[in-house]
Protein backbone atom coordinates (compact mmCIF):
# COMPACT_ATOMS: atom_id res chain seq x y z
CA UNK A 1 0.00 0.00 0.00
CA UNK A 2 1.25 3.51 -0.68
CA UNK A 3 0.53 6.71 1.24
CA UNK A 4 -1.84 8.02 -1.42
CA UNK A 5 -3.85 4.82 -1.39
CA UNK A 6 -4.08 4.93 2.38
CA UNK A 7 -5.11 8.59 2.38
CA UNK A 8 -7.95 7.70 0.01
CA UNK A 9 -9.63 5.90 2.90
CA UNK A 10 -10.17 9.24 4.62
CA UNK A 11 -13.51 10.75 3.67
CA UNK A 12 -14.80 14.23 4.39
CA UNK A 13 -16.41 14.51 7.84
CA UNK A 14 -14.52 11.62 9.39
CA UNK A 15 -13.04 11.60 12.88
CA UNK A 16 -9.31 10.86 12.95
CA UNK A 17 -7.38 9.74 16.04
CA UNK A 18 -3.79 11.04 16.07
CA UNK A 19 -1.05 10.37 18.65
CA UNK A 20 1.01 12.74 20.79
CA UNK A 21 4.36 14.11 19.51
CA UNK A 22 6.58 11.49 21.05
CA UNK A 23 4.45 8.41 20.46
CA UNK A 24 4.80 8.05 16.68
CA UNK A 25 3.12 10.73 14.60
CA UNK A 26 2.76 9.74 10.95
CA UNK A 27 3.96 13.04 9.56
CA UNK A 28 4.36 11.18 6.26
CA UNK A 29 0.59 10.91 6.09
CA UNK A 30 0.09 14.63 6.71
CA UNK A 31 0.97 15.68 3.18
CA UNK A 32 -0.90 12.71 1.70
CA UNK A 33 -3.99 13.82 3.62
CA UNK A 34 -3.59 17.40 2.43
CA UNK A 35 -3.18 16.22 -1.15
CA UNK A 36 -6.25 14.01 -0.73
CA UNK A 37 -8.16 17.07 0.46
CA UNK A 38 -11.00 15.38 2.40
CA UNK A 39 -12.21 18.19 4.66
CA UNK A 40 -14.51 18.81 7.61
CA UNK A 41 -12.33 16.48 9.63
CA UNK A 42 -12.80 16.02 13.37
CA UNK A 43 -9.43 15.43 15.00
CA UNK A 44 -9.12 13.43 18.20
CA UNK A 45 -5.70 13.99 19.77
CA UNK A 46 -4.32 11.21 21.98
CA UNK A 47 -4.00 13.06 24.23
CA UNK A 48 -2.44 16.23 22.72
CA UNK A 49 -1.67 17.52 19.24
CA UNK A 50 1.21 19.31 17.55
CA UNK A 51 2.69 19.80 14.12
CA UNK A 52 0.36 17.42 12.28
CA UNK A 53 -2.75 18.99 13.77
CA UNK A 54 -1.46 22.47 13.03
CA UNK A 55 -0.71 21.62 9.40
CA UNK A 56 -4.10 19.97 8.79
CA UNK A 57 -5.77 23.05 10.27
CA UNK A 58 -3.55 25.33 8.16
CA UNK A 59 -4.62 23.40 5.06
CA UNK A 60 -8.26 24.11 5.91
CA UNK A 61 -9.27 20.47 6.38
CA UNK A 62 -10.33 20.61 10.01
CA UNK A 63 -13.76 21.28 11.48
CA UNK A 64 -13.06 20.43 15.12
CA UNK A 65 -10.31 19.29 17.44
CA UNK A 66 -10.87 17.30 20.62
CA UNK A 67 -7.69 17.55 22.64
CA UNK A 68 -5.99 18.22 25.96
CA UNK A 69 -3.60 20.67 24.30
CA UNK A 70 -2.12 21.68 20.96
CA UNK A 71 1.41 23.03 20.92
CA UNK A 72 4.75 22.74 19.20
CA UNK A 73 6.51 21.99 22.49
CA UNK A 74 9.78 23.90 22.78
CA UNK A 75 8.89 25.78 19.59
CA UNK A 76 5.94 27.38 21.35
CA UNK A 77 2.28 27.65 20.45
CA UNK A 78 0.79 26.04 17.36
CA UNK A 79 0.35 29.05 15.04
CA UNK A 80 -2.36 27.84 12.65
CA UNK A 81 -4.34 26.30 15.53
CA UNK A 82 -4.12 29.44 17.64
CA UNK A 83 -5.20 31.68 14.78
CA UNK A 84 -8.10 29.43 13.79
CA UNK A 85 -9.30 29.39 17.41
CA UNK A 86 -9.07 33.16 17.71
CA UNK A 87 -11.04 33.58 14.49
CA UNK A 88 -13.60 30.97 15.55
CA UNK A 89 -12.94 28.89 12.41
CA UNK A 90 -12.62 25.60 14.27
CA UNK A 91 -14.44 24.11 17.22
CA UNK A 92 -12.17 23.02 20.08
CA UNK A 93 -13.47 20.42 22.46
CA UNK A 94 -11.08 21.05 25.31
CA UNK A 95 -10.42 17.91 27.35
CA UNK A 96 -7.86 16.72 29.86
CA UNK A 97 -5.40 13.91 29.06
CA UNK A 98 -7.01 11.14 31.16
CA UNK A 99 -10.44 12.00 29.72
CA UNK A 100 -9.09 11.30 26.24
CA UNK A 101 -7.70 7.98 27.46
CA UNK A 102 -10.99 7.23 29.24
CA UNK A 103 -12.99 7.81 26.04
CA UNK A 104 -10.77 5.35 24.17
CA UNK A 105 -10.88 2.84 27.01
CA UNK A 106 -14.68 2.92 26.96
CA UNK A 107 -14.61 2.08 23.25
CA UNK A 108 -11.95 -0.60 23.81
CA UNK A 109 -14.22 -2.28 26.35
CA UNK A 110 -17.39 -1.90 24.26
CA UNK A 111 -18.74 0.34 27.01
CA UNK A 112 -20.87 3.46 26.50
CA UNK A 113 -18.80 5.42 29.04
CA UNK A 114 -15.93 5.33 31.49
CA UNK A 115 -15.85 7.21 34.81
CA UNK A 116 -13.12 9.72 35.62
CA UNK A 117 -12.21 11.47 38.86
CA UNK A 118 -11.22 15.12 38.92
CA UNK A 119 -12.86 17.66 36.61
CA UNK A 120 -15.63 18.67 39.02
CA UNK A 121 -15.75 22.47 39.20
CA UNK A 122 -13.50 23.01 36.17
CA UNK A 123 -14.45 24.94 33.05
CA UNK A 124 -13.20 21.94 31.07
CA UNK A 125 -16.25 20.08 32.38
CA UNK A 126 -18.53 23.11 32.11
CA UNK A 127 -17.95 23.39 28.36
CA UNK A 128 -18.44 19.68 27.66
CA UNK A 129 -22.20 19.13 27.53
CA UNK A 130 -21.47 15.69 26.01
CA UNK A 131 -20.01 14.57 29.37
CA UNK A 132 -22.27 13.64 32.27
CA UNK A 133 -21.95 13.92 36.03
CA UNK A 134 -23.66 11.31 38.21
CA UNK A 135 -23.58 10.44 41.86
CA UNK A 136 -21.35 7.43 42.47
CA UNK A 137 -23.92 4.71 43.21
CA UNK A 138 -21.47 2.93 45.55
CA UNK A 139 -21.01 5.91 47.88
CA UNK A 140 -23.14 6.43 50.96
CA UNK A 141 -23.09 10.21 50.69
CA UNK A 142 -23.20 12.40 47.62
CA UNK A 143 -20.14 11.73 45.50
CA UNK A 144 -20.25 13.42 42.09
CA UNK A 145 -18.22 11.67 39.40
CA UNK A 146 -17.89 12.43 35.69
CA UNK A 147 -18.68 9.89 32.97
CA UNK A 148 -16.82 10.27 29.68
CA UNK A 149 -18.63 8.80 26.65
CA UNK A 150 -16.82 6.33 24.41
CA UNK A 151 -14.85 7.74 21.47
CA UNK A 152 -14.95 5.58 18.36
CA UNK A 153 -12.84 7.43 15.79
CA UNK A 154 -13.39 6.43 12.17
CA UNK A 155 -9.67 6.11 11.53
CA UNK A 156 -6.54 5.98 13.69
CA UNK A 157 -3.31 7.03 11.98
CA UNK A 158 0.20 6.59 13.40
CA UNK A 159 3.81 5.78 12.60
CA UNK A 160 5.81 2.88 14.07
CA UNK A 161 9.28 1.40 13.65
CA UNK A 162 8.28 -1.83 11.93
CA UNK A 163 5.63 -4.25 10.79
CA UNK A 164 5.93 -7.87 9.73
CA UNK A 165 4.58 -9.53 6.58
CA UNK A 166 1.45 -10.66 8.45
CA UNK A 167 0.48 -7.08 9.21
CA UNK A 168 1.48 -7.10 12.88
CA UNK A 169 2.95 -3.75 14.00
CA UNK A 170 5.62 -3.23 16.65
CA UNK A 171 4.57 -0.41 19.00
CA UNK A 172 6.85 -1.17 21.96
CA UNK A 173 5.63 0.41 25.16
CA UNK A 174 3.58 3.06 23.33
CA UNK A 175 0.38 1.32 24.28
CA UNK A 176 -1.77 4.38 23.51
CA UNK A 177 -1.27 3.36 19.88
CA UNK A 178 -2.96 0.05 20.65
CA UNK A 179 -5.72 1.89 22.51
CA UNK A 180 -6.32 4.03 19.42
CA UNK A 181 -6.47 0.99 17.17
CA UNK A 182 -8.81 -0.93 19.51
CA UNK A 183 -11.21 2.02 19.54
CA UNK A 184 -11.07 3.02 15.88
CA UNK A 185 -12.99 1.60 12.94
CA UNK A 186 -9.89 1.54 10.74
CA UNK A 187 -6.20 1.85 11.58
CA UNK A 188 -3.66 3.14 9.07
CA UNK A 189 -0.01 2.71 9.97
CA UNK A 190 3.18 3.95 8.37
CA UNK A 191 6.40 2.18 9.33
CA UNK A 192 10.11 2.62 8.88
CA UNK A 193 10.44 -0.90 7.47
CA UNK A 194 8.83 -4.28 6.95
CA UNK A 195 10.64 -7.20 8.58
CA UNK A 196 10.59 -10.88 7.65
CA UNK A 197 10.43 -12.14 11.23
CA UNK A 198 6.93 -12.85 12.62
CA UNK A 199 6.47 -10.35 15.44
CA UNK A 200 4.08 -12.72 17.21
CA UNK A 201 6.60 -15.53 16.84
CA UNK A 202 8.52 -14.83 20.04
CA UNK A 203 7.27 -13.77 23.46
CA UNK A 204 9.83 -10.95 23.49
CA UNK A 205 8.63 -9.23 20.34
CA UNK A 206 4.97 -10.17 20.87
CA UNK A 207 4.92 -8.14 24.09
CA UNK A 208 5.27 -4.90 22.12
CA UNK A 209 3.15 -5.87 19.12
CA UNK A 210 -0.22 -4.63 17.92
CA UNK A 211 -1.79 -7.67 16.21
CA UNK A 212 -2.82 -7.45 12.55
CA UNK A 213 -6.40 -7.99 13.68
CA UNK A 214 -6.56 -4.27 14.48
CA UNK A 215 -4.58 -2.96 11.50
CA UNK A 216 -6.31 -2.00 8.24
CA UNK A 217 -3.39 -0.89 6.06
CA UNK A 218 0.36 -0.46 6.35
CA UNK A 219 2.65 1.66 4.19
CA UNK A 220 6.42 2.03 4.32
CA UNK A 221 7.59 5.59 4.99
CA UNK A 222 11.24 5.88 6.04
CA UNK A 223 11.72 8.70 8.55
CA UNK A 224 7.96 8.96 8.46
CA UNK A 225 7.71 10.81 11.78
CA UNK A 226 10.13 13.57 10.71
CA UNK A 227 10.55 16.26 11.90
CA UNK A 228 9.33 14.48 15.00
CA UNK A 229 11.54 11.74 16.33
CA UNK A 230 10.70 8.07 16.69
CA UNK A 231 11.61 6.19 19.83
CA UNK A 232 14.65 3.97 19.44
CA UNK A 233 15.13 5.23 15.85
CA UNK A 234 15.89 8.93 15.47
CA UNK A 235 15.66 12.17 17.43
CA UNK A 236 13.34 15.09 16.88
CA UNK A 237 14.62 17.68 14.38
CA UNK A 238 13.99 20.65 16.66
CA UNK A 239 15.50 23.13 14.20
CA UNK A 240 12.97 22.12 11.56
CA UNK A 241 10.06 22.50 13.98
CA UNK A 242 11.36 25.95 14.91
CA UNK A 243 11.60 26.78 11.20
CA UNK A 244 7.97 25.72 10.77
CA UNK A 245 6.85 27.63 13.86
CA UNK A 246 8.38 30.81 12.46
CA UNK A 247 7.11 30.32 8.91
CA UNK A 248 3.56 29.40 9.91
CA UNK A 249 2.95 32.60 11.89
CA UNK A 250 1.11 33.82 8.79
CA UNK A 251 -1.11 31.98 6.34
CA UNK A 252 1.27 32.98 3.55
CA UNK A 253 4.31 31.71 5.41
CA UNK A 254 2.50 28.45 6.07
CA UNK A 255 1.63 28.06 2.37
CA UNK A 256 5.23 28.73 1.36
CA UNK A 257 6.54 26.22 3.90
CA UNK A 258 4.12 23.50 2.81
CA UNK A 259 4.96 24.06 -0.87
CA UNK A 260 8.52 22.92 -0.18
CA UNK A 261 9.35 19.22 -0.31
CA UNK A 262 9.79 17.39 2.99
CA UNK A 263 13.56 17.78 3.11
CA UNK A 264 14.29 15.49 6.02
CA UNK A 265 12.34 12.54 4.79
CA UNK A 266 13.32 10.07 2.10
CA UNK A 267 10.61 9.57 -0.48
CA UNK A 268 8.65 6.45 0.27
CA UNK A 269 9.68 3.53 -1.94
CA UNK A 270 7.17 1.83 -4.19
CA UNK A 271 5.93 -1.28 -2.50
Amino acid sequence: MDLRGMAARVEAGMQLALPVDYAGVSMAMTRALIERGAGDLDLFCVPTGGLQVDQLIGAGLVRSVETSAVSLGEAGGAPRFNQAVGEGRIVVRDATCPAIHAALMAAQKGNPFQPLRGLVGSDVLRFRPDWRMIDNPFAEDRDPIVLIPAARPDIAIFHAPMADRNGNVWIGRRRELAAMAYAAGQTLVTVERIIDENLLGSETSAAGTLPALYVTEIAVAPRGAWPYGLWGEYATDTAEILRYAKAARTAEGFATYMAQPAAGRAEEPAQ
Binding site: A69, G88, P98, G118, V120
Partner: protein, 249 residues
Amino acid sequence: MTEVHPREILIATITRLLDGVRHVAVGASSPIPAAGAMLLRAMKKRAGAPPVRISILGSVEHNFFTNGSAELFDCAGQGRIDAFFLGGGQIDGQANINLVGVGDYPASTPRWPGSFGSAYLYFVVPRVILFREEHSPRVFVDKVDFISAPGTSAPGVHRTGGPVALLTGKALFSFDKTRPGFTLESLHPGHALEEVREATGFAFADPRDTGRTPAPDRETLALLRGQVMDELAETYPEFASQMRREVHA
Protein backbone atom coordinates in the same frame (compact mmCIF):
# COMPACT_ATOMS: atom_id res chain seq x y z
CA MET B 1 32.44 30.56 41.70
CA THR B 2 29.72 33.18 42.06
CA GLU B 3 27.26 33.80 44.83
CA VAL B 4 24.23 31.58 44.95
CA HIS B 5 22.34 31.85 41.64
CA PRO B 6 18.64 32.87 41.96
CA ARG B 7 17.63 29.62 40.28
CA GLU B 8 19.68 27.64 42.78
CA ILE B 9 17.49 29.14 45.47
CA LEU B 10 14.41 28.03 43.53
CA ILE B 11 15.83 24.52 43.12
CA ALA B 12 16.73 24.21 46.81
CA THR B 13 13.29 25.52 47.77
CA ILE B 14 11.64 22.85 45.65
CA THR B 15 13.84 20.26 47.34
CA ARG B 16 12.54 21.44 50.71
CA LEU B 17 8.92 21.39 49.52
CA LEU B 18 9.37 17.81 48.29
CA ASP B 19 10.89 16.49 51.52
CA GLY B 20 9.24 13.20 52.42
CA VAL B 21 7.92 12.17 49.00
CA ARG B 22 8.60 8.70 47.63
CA HIS B 23 7.69 9.39 44.01
CA VAL B 24 7.57 12.70 42.19
CA ALA B 25 6.55 13.22 38.57
CA VAL B 26 7.97 16.11 36.57
CA GLY B 27 6.87 17.53 33.22
CA ALA B 28 9.08 17.16 30.16
CA SER B 29 10.00 20.85 29.99
CA SER B 30 10.44 21.56 33.70
CA PRO B 31 14.18 21.62 34.40
CA ILE B 32 13.96 23.56 37.68
CA PRO B 33 11.42 21.18 39.30
CA ALA B 34 13.44 18.25 37.92
CA ALA B 35 16.62 19.67 39.45
CA GLY B 36 14.84 20.13 42.77
CA ALA B 37 13.68 16.52 42.70
CA MET B 38 17.13 15.26 41.72
CA LEU B 39 18.73 17.24 44.53
CA LEU B 40 16.30 15.67 47.00
CA ARG B 41 17.11 12.22 45.65
CA ALA B 42 20.84 12.83 45.96
CA MET B 43 20.49 14.18 49.52
CA LYS B 44 18.34 11.24 50.62
CA LYS B 45 20.75 8.79 49.09
CA ARG B 46 23.68 10.43 50.84
CA ALA B 47 21.78 10.28 54.14
CA GLY B 48 20.90 6.61 53.64
CA ALA B 49 17.18 7.48 53.68
CA PRO B 50 14.54 5.59 51.64
CA PRO B 51 15.00 6.24 47.91
CA VAL B 52 13.14 8.94 46.00
CA ARG B 53 11.76 7.95 42.61
CA ILE B 54 11.53 10.58 39.85
CA SER B 55 9.48 10.10 36.68
CA ILE B 56 10.23 12.64 33.98
CA LEU B 57 7.45 12.70 31.41
CA GLY B 58 8.49 12.36 27.79
CA SER B 59 12.04 11.41 28.77
CA VAL B 60 13.33 8.09 27.47
CA GLU B 61 16.09 7.94 30.08
CA HIS B 62 13.80 8.59 33.05
CA ASN B 63 10.69 6.88 31.75
CA PHE B 64 9.71 4.22 34.27
CA PHE B 65 6.37 3.65 32.59
CA THR B 66 5.61 0.89 30.10
CA ASN B 67 1.87 1.27 29.56
CA GLY B 68 1.67 4.30 27.28
CA SER B 69 0.82 7.86 28.14
CA ALA B 70 -2.19 6.82 30.24
CA GLU B 71 0.05 5.24 32.88
CA LEU B 72 1.00 8.52 34.59
CA PHE B 73 -2.66 9.24 35.25
CA ASP B 74 -3.41 5.69 36.32
CA CYS B 75 -0.41 5.79 38.63
CA ALA B 76 -1.62 9.06 40.17
CA GLY B 77 -5.12 7.65 40.54
CA GLN B 78 -3.64 4.69 42.44
CA GLY B 79 -2.06 7.11 44.88
CA ARG B 80 1.44 6.21 43.73
CA ILE B 81 2.52 9.76 42.86
CA ASP B 82 3.14 11.99 45.85
CA ALA B 83 4.06 15.25 44.19
CA PHE B 84 3.67 17.05 40.87
CA PHE B 85 4.17 20.54 39.49
CA LEU B 86 1.65 22.71 37.71
CA GLY B 87 2.02 26.15 36.20
CA GLY B 88 -0.46 28.26 34.35
CA GLY B 89 -0.83 31.21 32.05
CA GLN B 90 -2.99 32.61 34.85
CA ILE B 91 -3.15 31.60 38.52
CA ASP B 92 -5.58 33.30 40.87
CA GLY B 93 -5.80 33.80 44.62
CA GLN B 94 -7.92 30.68 45.08
CA ALA B 95 -5.24 28.63 43.31
CA ASN B 96 -7.41 28.15 40.25
CA ILE B 97 -5.18 27.68 37.22
CA ASN B 98 -5.77 28.56 33.57
CA LEU B 99 -3.81 26.83 30.82
CA VAL B 100 -6.31 27.59 28.04
CA GLY B 101 -6.27 31.29 27.24
CA VAL B 102 -7.23 34.89 27.92
CA GLY B 103 -10.63 36.41 27.28
CA ASP B 104 -13.98 34.92 26.44
CA TYR B 105 -13.72 31.18 25.89
CA PRO B 106 -13.83 29.62 23.34
CA ALA B 107 -12.44 32.54 21.28
CA SER B 108 -9.50 33.00 23.67
CA THR B 109 -6.79 35.46 22.61
CA PRO B 110 -4.12 34.51 23.18
CA ARG B 111 -5.03 30.86 23.11
CA TRP B 112 -2.58 28.73 25.09
CA PRO B 113 -2.01 25.02 24.41
CA GLY B 114 -4.67 23.62 26.75
CA SER B 115 -5.29 22.03 30.12
CA PHE B 116 -3.18 18.88 29.61
CA GLY B 117 -3.66 16.58 32.63
CA SER B 118 -4.22 19.38 35.15
CA ALA B 119 -7.99 18.89 35.47
CA TYR B 120 -7.24 15.44 36.86
CA LEU B 121 -3.81 15.54 38.52
CA TYR B 122 -4.67 18.62 40.61
CA PHE B 123 -7.35 16.48 42.29
CA VAL B 124 -5.40 13.31 42.99
CA VAL B 125 -1.75 14.22 43.63
CA PRO B 126 -1.41 15.04 47.33
CA ARG B 127 1.35 17.61 47.02
CA VAL B 128 0.96 19.86 43.98
CA ILE B 129 3.50 22.65 43.79
CA LEU B 130 2.49 25.62 41.66
CA PHE B 131 5.61 26.90 39.96
CA ARG B 132 5.86 29.93 37.72
CA GLU B 133 9.05 32.00 37.46
CA GLU B 134 7.36 35.02 35.91
CA HIS B 135 5.82 36.93 38.79
CA SER B 136 3.61 39.59 37.21
CA PRO B 137 0.03 40.87 37.43
CA ARG B 138 -0.81 39.25 34.07
CA VAL B 139 0.03 35.81 35.52
CA PHE B 140 -1.20 36.25 39.09
CA VAL B 141 -4.72 37.53 38.54
CA ASP B 142 -7.70 38.07 40.77
CA LYS B 143 -9.80 35.59 38.84
CA VAL B 144 -8.69 33.32 36.00
CA ASP B 145 -10.53 33.61 32.66
CA PHE B 146 -10.87 29.83 32.37
CA ILE B 147 -10.59 27.27 35.15
CA SER B 148 -8.49 24.44 33.78
CA ALA B 149 -8.44 23.04 37.29
CA PRO B 150 -9.85 24.54 40.47
CA GLY B 151 -7.67 25.16 43.51
CA THR B 152 -10.27 23.85 45.94
CA SER B 153 -13.42 21.74 45.78
CA ALA B 154 -16.76 21.76 47.55
CA PRO B 155 -17.19 19.33 50.47
CA GLY B 156 -18.17 15.89 49.18
CA VAL B 157 -16.11 16.17 46.00
CA HIS B 158 -13.54 13.37 45.85
CA ARG B 159 -10.24 15.17 46.23
CA THR B 160 -7.12 13.55 47.62
CA GLY B 161 -4.79 16.17 46.21
CA GLY B 162 -4.31 19.84 45.58
CA PRO B 163 -1.98 22.80 45.87
CA VAL B 164 0.35 23.14 48.85
CA ALA B 165 2.61 25.97 47.70
CA LEU B 166 3.25 28.55 45.01
CA LEU B 167 6.83 29.27 44.07
CA THR B 168 7.67 32.21 41.80
CA GLY B 169 10.80 34.08 40.79
CA LYS B 170 10.20 36.52 43.64
CA ALA B 171 8.67 34.64 46.55
CA LEU B 172 7.31 31.48 48.13
CA PHE B 173 3.67 31.20 49.24
CA SER B 174 1.87 28.43 51.08
CA PHE B 175 -1.75 27.63 50.30
CA ASP B 176 -4.49 27.30 52.91
CA LYS B 177 -7.42 25.44 51.40
CA THR B 178 -9.76 26.20 54.31
CA ARG B 179 -9.66 29.94 53.73
CA PRO B 180 -8.91 29.47 50.75
CA GLY B 181 -5.92 31.62 49.89
CA PHE B 182 -2.17 32.07 49.72
CA THR B 183 0.11 33.14 52.55
CA LEU B 184 3.47 34.72 51.84
CA GLU B 185 6.10 32.45 53.36
CA SER B 186 9.32 34.12 52.28
CA LEU B 187 10.79 36.61 49.85
CA HIS B 188 13.71 35.54 47.67
CA PRO B 189 16.93 37.52 48.14
CA GLY B 190 16.73 40.83 46.30
CA HIS B 191 12.95 41.10 46.35
CA ALA B 192 10.82 43.33 48.60
CA LEU B 193 7.32 42.91 49.95
CA GLU B 194 6.04 46.00 48.17
CA GLU B 195 7.40 44.77 44.84
CA VAL B 196 5.72 41.40 45.31
CA ARG B 197 2.44 43.01 46.28
CA GLU B 198 2.49 45.15 43.13
CA ALA B 199 3.35 42.17 40.95
CA THR B 200 0.50 40.06 42.34
CA GLY B 201 -3.05 40.57 41.09
CA PHE B 202 -4.65 38.78 44.02
CA ALA B 203 -4.68 39.47 47.75
CA PHE B 204 -2.57 37.21 49.97
CA ALA B 205 -1.95 36.89 53.69
CA ASP B 206 1.26 38.52 54.79
CA PRO B 207 2.44 37.59 58.28
CA ARG B 208 4.67 40.11 60.02
CA ASP B 209 7.58 37.74 60.36
CA THR B 210 7.98 36.96 56.65
CA GLY B 211 11.60 36.11 56.15
CA ARG B 212 14.05 35.46 53.37
CA THR B 213 13.89 32.29 51.29
CA PRO B 214 17.00 30.46 52.55
CA ALA B 215 19.87 29.78 50.20
CA PRO B 216 21.23 26.22 50.10
CA ASP B 217 24.15 25.56 52.46
CA ARG B 218 27.64 24.88 51.12
CA GLU B 219 27.33 21.13 51.11
CA THR B 220 23.98 21.20 49.35
CA LEU B 221 25.27 23.71 46.82
CA ALA B 222 28.23 21.49 46.02
CA LEU B 223 25.93 18.53 45.47
CA LEU B 224 23.68 20.63 43.25
CA ARG B 225 26.52 22.06 41.16
CA GLY B 226 28.22 18.70 40.81
CA GLN B 227 26.30 15.46 40.73
CA VAL B 228 22.84 16.94 40.23
CA MET B 229 23.86 19.11 37.27
CA ASP B 230 25.49 16.06 35.70
CA GLU B 231 22.25 14.10 36.06
CA LEU B 232 20.17 17.03 34.89
CA ALA B 233 22.32 17.45 31.77
CA GLU B 234 21.22 14.03 30.52
CA THR B 235 17.64 15.24 30.11
CA TYR B 236 17.97 19.03 29.95
CA PRO B 237 21.39 19.63 28.34
CA GLU B 238 20.72 23.22 27.35
CA PHE B 239 19.39 24.26 30.74
CA ALA B 240 22.28 22.57 32.55
CA SER B 241 24.95 24.19 30.42
CA GLN B 242 23.28 27.60 30.76
CA MET B 243 23.16 27.18 34.55
CA ARG B 244 26.85 26.20 34.56
CA ARG B 245 27.83 29.23 32.48
CA GLU B 246 25.95 31.61 34.74
CA VAL B 247 27.16 30.02 37.98
CA HIS B 248 30.80 30.15 36.86
CA ALA B 249 30.56 33.60 35.28
